[in-house]
């Protein structure tokens, strides 16, 4: 997994690529919690280049979302590949996360 933090139209975007698994998710957690500690909201996450996610990766986002909700922060995921979207759907998390088709959809909503 690789993590990049980008700015797009003044918003912070976490750009992920590769496999998010039990090995790499602690690094994702550190980055995510760092931004959450700064109360950055909305926070955007680009899934376009994510090739794999397991339950530890998903748990990381659920944990982040739960904390953000305590201060009315927004966590917005976009460009989730189909196979990964299936996992969100199966886990009933497609109703819990704000999910968008593109970064512009995510920003303009």
């Amino acid at each position: 997994m690789n993590i990049g933090i980008a700015s797009y139209k003044g918003s912070k975007v976490i750009q992920l690529s590769g496999d998010i698994d039990m090995y790499s998710s602690p690094e994702l957690r550190t980055e995510l919690m760092g931004l959450i500690k700064k109360r950055i909201s909305p926070l955007y996450v680009d899934f376009k280049e994510v090739s794999y996610i397991d339950s530890s990766g998903i748990a990381t986002f659920v944990e982040g979302l739960k904390i953000m909700k305590t201060y009315d922060g927004r966590l917005r995921l976009f460009c989730i590949p189909q196979g990964i979207m299936e996992i969100f759907r199966f886990s009933k998390l497609d109703r819990v996360f704000e999910i968008y088709g593109s970064i512009d959809d995510a920003i303009n909503s």
Partner: protein, 138 residues
């Protein structure tokens, strides 16, 4: 030895990528669909992650053994460890409506595999048997 592949890896999360890749390659060899292959990779990865987390309680220096056995009618993965015996009645995923971190791994395994069974006859450690019934071209 007929269509029986085995891998043994250290109980370190960095080796999970090998588990996924071997599972994926074996599925590919037997012409299993791409969607099902991805689901199997996830399931076997989750089962190994549970061994690291629960059976070995995070100890990364132990051993996990995976055996893949392919028959005309089933895809079998047997996962062995020498860790703490699982209390099988405590193993279940969380209610999917109870949104919280964790508790999804077992769901991901059972979503694909028809059988999720701990072989209680194993003396030390665990032997988890995963079976997916399906017609396999051989």
């Amino acid at each position: 030895m007929k269509d029986f592949a085995t891998i043994a890896i250290p109980s370190h999360p960095k080796y999970l990528s090998i588990v996924r890749s071997v599972t994926g390659k074996i599925a590919q060899i037997y012409e299993i669909t791409e969607t099902l292959t991805e689901d199997m990779k996830l399931a076997v990865d989750e089962a190994c992650a549970n061994v690291i987390k629960h059976a070995y309680q995070g100890d990364r220096t132990k051993k996990i053994v995976l055996k893949y056995k392919i028959t005309k009618k089933s895809f079998n993965v047997i996962i062995e460890d020498s860790g703490i015996k699982a209390k099988t009645d405590l193993i279940k995923g969380r209610d999917l409506d109870d949104i919280r971190p964790g508790g999804l791994g077992i769901h991901f395994i059972k979503r694909v595999f028809d059988v999720f069974h701990f072989d209680e006859t194993k003396k030390k450690g665990n032997r988890l048997i995963l079976i997916k019934y399906m017609n396999i071209k051989k």
